[in-house]
Symmetry: C2
Subunit: 158 residues, 2 copies
């Protein structure tokens, strides 16, 4: 008789753990800075890359639907955390970049998030953390999340 222990079933465990960890972190950027997850992803992408980039690019590398990114961008523009300039080469798209105000928020937020990540992973030894990251990477690769697991080159991104 077929049986499946949900609590040993890796897809369920990943989904639950992902939701749990996201929830734990979102208190950091939601309650304190009023950012929701899509907004945070926009900020994170802009903060990591130094050059301005398009909404499309952010959508692709965070694997978030373009309409969701569009709404996040609108909100961040209103709050003046990011700004956008027309791209003369292609007038369909806009180049997005953080404002000084946005950058300041980002600088303040990042150490907090890294600390939270540390706390969550504190139950693992240094060696285990490294191994866990490696195994995650192998699974990501096999699911073709690869291209999103690092900043894409211009050629890939556009």
């Amino acid at each position: 008789m077929a049986k499946l222990d949900l609590f040993k079933f890796v897809p369920f465990r990943l989904n639950r753990l992902g939701a749990e960890v996201s929830g734990a972190l979102s208190s950091e950027y939601r309650a304190r800075y009023g950012l929701d997850i899509p907004e945070w992803r926009v900020m994170a992408t802009l903060g990591f890359r130094d050059e301005a980039c398009s909404a499309q690019y952010i959508s692709q590398c965070t694997r978030t639907h373009k309409s969701t990114i569009s709404r996040a961008v609108t909100s961040l523009l209103e709050r003046e955390l990011i700004e956008r300039v027309e791209n003369a080469d292609d007038r369909r798209e806009f180049r997005l970049a953080m404002t000084p105000k946005g950058r300041a928020l980002y600088e303040e937020l990042i150490p907090r998030l890294l600390r939270r990540e540390q706390e969550i992973l504190a139950c693992l030894t240094a060696q285990e953390r490294k191994e866990f990251a490696r195994l995650l990477g192998k699974i990501e690769d096999s699911l073709n999340l690869v291209q999103a697991s690092r900043p894409m080159s211009e050629a890939e991104a556009y």
Copy 2:
């Protein structure tokens, strides 16, 4: 200057991977059997435990909001995949169990899902899979997902 590489940030990676893997699996139970995620979680819980159990119990051990479980239960009752009986000892709650029809669907679905899980984890060696599961378990424990990581005893569950 603070910086965070989103693609090396474990909370983001877990969230993305969880969503991706869930999405891959849901094609199995959504397209083929018309189950959504909450419905599948109800079936999975009932299928693993042999005794009937309450909606509350399912809610707790799958970490799914009670209103979401309530809706899933309603839908499964309409489709006659599960049935419920009043609990004479406590008339607030209902005991849920699969019907033969539901059991048949479950028996058919489980091998498919286990095969999918295998495919997803095929990129890891047997040793790596074991290690990955162990590390997941340590993180789950530290986040107090413990009580949900195995069927709860009656004493804990009620």
